[in-house]
């Protein structure tokens, strides 16, 4: 089995795999978005307390989850690249960062847009919003380091180290911010306890989360293809690809 996985460690195979898979993922995420948006905006009843403003949850919660998930993907890809010297690991880690930063920014912006009607101010020192803000700093630090180092390979290896150290720090930062912040809002959905939302509200949320995840996977494959082209621009197979027929 390892042999088949090993095949994806070589850039040409991964490029072909990514080129084949991403259109399908885009299609699936489009369908999921359509269903999720319809469910969230039309089908789900208004919240008895917050009224219609709770519908921002269908953007805020999926992007907040995804911002954390993308950093995990970045750190594990970096670890694969660093420990087993698999070049694809570094490439995938580099491709993740802009995506993670976009989702973190989206989570922050929608969080404050949601907080304005609910808490009356644009920014509230809520524990999760604060750790989301610090996560954005971690992403910006990663991307600043990537752009500061000219040599792409050294940048990817250094980035992998930073991502691994960052992922160890995220739970510590989250716990310390929880400790620090007195204003709590219990997590609306944790896998363990009973969801505090009605089932008709919950399904669109899971739909939107899946939509976000498949969109992330699709865009990550495209970004990875770009990084592969840049990492491997001196090789034979990239040259054939560049002069091949399908360059539209």
């Amino acid at each position: 089995m390892f042999e088949r996985f090993h095949k994806f460690a070589s850039p040409p195979h991964f490029h072909a795999f990514a080129r084949m898979l991403s259109p399908w993922l885009f299609g699936v995420s489009a369908l999921l978005f359509a269903a999720g948006l319809f469910g969230g905006l039309v089908y789900a009843p208004a919240d008895y307390q917050q009224g219609e403003s709770f519908r921002i949850i269908y953007i805020h919660v999926p992007s907040a989850w995804l911002s954390m998930f993308v950093y995990m993907v970045m750190a594990s890809a970096g670890a694969v690249g660093l420990i087993w010297k698999v070049k694809m690991g570094d490439i995938v880690a580099r491709a993740c960062a802009p995506l993670g930063a976009s989702f973190t920014f989206l989570a922050l912006a929608t969080g404050s847009l949601w907080g304005k009607p609910m808490w009356g101010t644009w920014w509230v020192w809520d524990a999760r919003l604060t750790s989301e803000l610090i996560l954005l700093f971690l992403y910006l630090g990663y991307m600043a380091l990537q752009s500061a180092i000219e040599d792409r390979r050294a940048a990817a290896r250094a980035g992998a180290v930073l991502a691994i150290v960052g992922v160890v720090n995220i739970p510590i930062i989250h716990y310390s911010v929880e400790w620090w912040s007195t204003l709590h809002q219990g997590a609306t959905i944790t896998k363990l306890d009973r969801p505090s939302m009605d089932i008709s509200m919950l399904i669109p949320l899971l739909g939107m989360t899946l939509a976000f995840k498949t969109l992330f996977a699709a865009v990550l494959l495209v970004r990875t293809r770009c990084e592969i082209l840049e990492f491997e621009q001196h090789t034979n197979w990239v040259r054939e690809l560049a002069t091949g027929p399908e360059v539209r």
């Binding site: 460690a9 070589s10 010297k85 000219e150 040599d151 390979r153 001196h234 090789t235 197979w237």
Partner: protein, 246 residues
């Protein structure tokens, strides 16, 4: 042959890589009893600087008792090659063996036996000459074959032992860096342009050091443009750059 992870696939035979293997088989040197197996073996080494491929398909088989002079145009990648051989930089492809042990970046086997001289002499200005030599010697983990004072005497810095290193001239700093080679019994020497900033006496000193090193059965890989006055039996030449510039 795409430059991917080390040695995943044999390069396709059709690839027009110029074969840089030296034509003459390495001569058996008089002094060492004939360890004909190459001590340092590089096969299909490739090197990237940013997105630019500097060289690839580079092969080198160096045995004990030899002094390899690396010559080539500027920017041909001489320094990059020496850094790869020293295990300081990762090769973009190909394999490297020191005394039969495969070397990835960070191989202890190679470092135990290596003495390296880069473009910068590696001298800390705030420390004295003797303190610098002592620090670098203890860091390298190799056994000294003489007292530090004797090494400084051998390179002509005997009376400057206590002087702060930042007051030394460029030539004197280079001599201090060379003192480490004299002090330690490292079987492998890798030197990047050792003759720069040295006067005529300094050049002769280096040539003498290299000759003694080769006679003791040591291996040296030196990049320099000056002709090296060392016994021809030990000298090997590695042409670089010119034959690659397609």
């Amino acid at each position: 042959m795409s430059a991917r992870g080390p040695a995943l696939r044999r390069p396709r035979p059709s690839s027009p890589t110029p074969d840089l293997r030296p034509a003459t088989p390495s001569l058996k040197t008089v002094t060492n009893p004939g360890s004909s197996a190459p001590a340092l073996l590089a096969r299909d080494l490739a090197c990237m600087r940013g997105d630019e491929l500097i060289f690839d398909g580079l092969c080198l088989a160096a045995s004990a008792g030899e002094i390899w002079q690396i010559v080539g145009a500027n920017g041909a990648g001489k320094t990059s090659l020496l850094k790869i051989l020293a295990g300081l930089a990762p090769a973009a492809g190909g394999s490297l063996r020191w005394r039969g042990v495969e070397i990835g970046v960070g191989a202890e086997a190679l470092r135990q036996d290596l003495c390296y001289l880069g473009h910068l002499p590696g001298i800390t200005g705030y420390l004295s000459v003797a303190e610098n030599l002592d620090y670098l010697a203890r860091l390298s983990g190799a056994t000294p074959v003489m007292r530090p004072a004797e090494a400084l005497l051998a390179v002509g810095l005997a009376e400057l032992g206590a002087a702060p290193a930042r007051r030394l001239s460029a030539g004197q700093r280079q001599r201090l860096a060379l003192a480490r080679f004299v002090l330690l019994a490292s079987p492998l020497w890798i030197m990047d342009e050792p003759l720069t900033a040295l006067d005529q006496a300094g050049r002769e000193l280096v040539e003498q050091m290299l000759t003694d090193h080769a006679r003791r059965g040591g291996l040296a890989v030196v990049s320099t443009h000056h002709p090296l006055a060392v016994p021809a039996a030990h000298l090997r030449r590695f042409e670089f750059g010119a034959s690659l510039a397609a």
